[in-house]
Symmetry: C2
Subunit: 391 residues, 2 copies
């Protein structure tokens, strides 16, 4: 199924899952979503991964044809799994974790019946927790994404011409990202938050509220996708917030930068400087053991002290968070929010996005992706933090 | 919530749902996925749509802030809905349809508890059926997508240069589609089938099997997204199958065309001609009352008569279907497959894709989107069916 290098990685990930299963008194977990199959196999396939608390791991594959390995069995349907476990001398689970947060009701109901003697439990939390601390292998993938992602953001001076719209600029950046190796796909956990390749928002469009818990909405081009650019002609004095997809390796970085043509309002610079100051304060504070809610509160309080609360994380509609874990998906753990119970751990990779929406100007601020190290944190997306010119 | 024009459309869609609820002896349905919220509101929002068999319809909206209308109530959580129904004098349902095929196990479990006196039933099939026959309004949206989609496919001569890869060509076409108004997002029902903006496959990469039930797979550029182009350098004698996203309006068309540089193998032309002949035969046969399985069988038999069965709908891995409904999502009803129970109805919009994978050449054939009319069918994507030059 995978390369020898990746075999060691699978062992590492399996060990984390086994430890989580034991701590939750769960005998086994059966994974079946693309993201978790990818996490455990190093590639997307259609089928299931079975892992039990004794450390038994097996792949039950439906497609693609032609995968090979001792730990792979081809199946047509999940009902074949129990007999295959018995053949392999593996005892049946009495409790089994299933991906109840993300698999459909009907899929879970079917899988629960595959193990009629077992109590089905929600295994989504286990995977969310395990995946929230990245291995060295994963961090390397994120570093590669960061390089590609930053290279495009650094290249935008000169893209402006009079009359260019937010959408035209976004399409140009999408194309540059793709040519730099971006895979394009923007994975979001859960079915409800739909974004194409991220968002680019100019001027007061930032204040159009979103169907989602976003600091900035943007009306979008069509009511079927009411987020992001809406055809606004970019004008001098208007900010443009670029927050596009950084998935170059299966693992994403999340970066936002503010651009402008000419000078913005004084309030916009003040708010942008506050965002940068929040980043610097968080970079000093973030380390294992720090509460995610304390990081949110630090940012919230700094915005309040600067008398910018009315613009913090949105204006007409304010978001309830200020950062999030990132990896295979854009919305992983931990969550930086006032009521988050997450506590930072070494290996967390978090996107921090203290943004402000300034009426008459648009969105300002920056977003960086940080790695929590054993004794502090490292900015993986460290480059120009100023408002950058498009012209 | 919506324009006056769209109010009549909502009435039409609601009437279809009410009829389906009555025929299924279901008192009410509670929708909550983006696609079905969009279907009933004409815009994506976060929240729920409640419709009962008496024709009562109400939107319970979480976000975005600032929507207005007599039929809208803002809520923070779905548990508020029963009290709001009672206030409105609406009787409680004793059976309620929920989107069990597509909403998560935990979301459905929560929603079922909102109506503790009601029996929860699977409402996904009702919506799948209702949405499978398009209204005049929807057909107009699909026609607009068809125009944009075709305009880009017609523009590809001259994109070839020696050394160009499948990925480079795909990025160029993605950019042309986006500039022509394509929204980019490629909606697939269910969480498991992940594609970025469609696929472009050159040469023998067509024979790399897919994790999904696709005629052609393609290895992809990364194991996290193992579909489509894999960096193959496009060479004379190699076919290139273009099957990219046609979502310009929230409603998609699905079109594939085969391109080449120079001449292909005789077998490739024979198979391509067979694909075109299958289309012409289906265009004569398809009308309300025809079984979807009969359309599949017609195509299968024509491929067999031409001694092309080994290449039909794939070679190393063959797909189990030959067409599908298309609309808001790429995989709607009806399904053209050997065991499909679907029967064509006026208003169905179906993508028909008899394709062949020819070892040493690549994929050939075409895909068109058809509207089933009251007495036949209309090709919505009628343009050059030949293998077209890239050079």
């Amino acid at each position: 199924m995978y390369t020898q290098e990746f075999a060691a990685e699978v062992q590492l990930r399996k060990d984390k899952i086994v430890a989580a299963l034991r701590s939750m008194n769960t005998d086994a977990i059966l994974l079946g979503t693309n993201v978790n199959n990818y996490y455990m196999a190093g590639r997307v396939f259609s089928g299931y991964v079975y892992i039990n608390s004794d450390g038994y791991l097996h792949y039950y594959v439906k497609r693609p044809a032609l995968l090979k390995g001792d730990d792979i069995t081809y199946i047509r349907k999940p009902e074949e799994i129990p007999a295959l476990l018995q053949e392999a001398g593996v005892s049946m689970p009495s409790t089994i974790g299933l991906e109840m947060d993300f698999m459909s009701y009907n899929d879970i109901t079917r899988l629960a019946k595959v193990f009629p003697e077992a109590t089905a439990m929600n295994g989504s939390g286990i995977m969310r927790y395990v995946r929230s601390t990245k291995t060295a292998y994963e961090i390397e993938k994120i570093r590669i994404s960061a390089q590609g992602h930053m290279s495009v953001y650094k290249s935008l001076q000169g893209t402006y011409y009079p009359g260019i719209t937010d959408t035209e600029l976004q399409i140009e950046i999408e194309s540059r990202l793709r040519r730099a190796g971006c895979l394009g796909i923007f994975r979001v956990a859960g079915p409800s938050m739909e974004v194409f390749m991220g968002s680019l928002i100019s001027g007061d469009n930032a204040d159009n509220p979103s169907p989602y818990d976003f600091a900035m909405g943007g009306a979008g081009l069509d009511s079927s996708l009411p987020v992001g650019g809406n055809g606004t002609v970019i004008e001098p004095g208007m900010s443009t917030m670029v927050d596009l997809c950084g998935n170059f390796t299966g693992y994403m970085t999340d970066i936002s930068r503010t651009y402008s043509v000419g000078r913005l309002s004084d309030l916009a610079y003040k708010a942008h400087d506050c965002s940068v100051a929040i980043h610097h304060a968080i970079a000093k504070m973030a380390r294992p053991g720090v509460k995610a809610s304390d990081i949110y509160n630090l940012a919230y309080n700094m915005a309040a002290e600067a008398e910018l609360s009315a613009y913090f994380m949105g204006h007409n509609q304010q978001a309830g968070f200020m950062g999030h874990g990132v990896g295979i998906e854009i919305n992983e753990a931990p969550v930086l929010a006032p009521r988050s119970r997450d506590v930072l751990e070494a290996g967390n990779v978090i996107a921090v996005e203290p943004k402000f929406v300034i009426p008459g100007t648009g969105a300002v601020g920056i977003e960086n992706t940080y790695l929590i190290t054993s004794d502090g944190c490292e900015c993986l997306t460290d480059f120009n933090e100023e408002i950058m010119p498009l012209d």
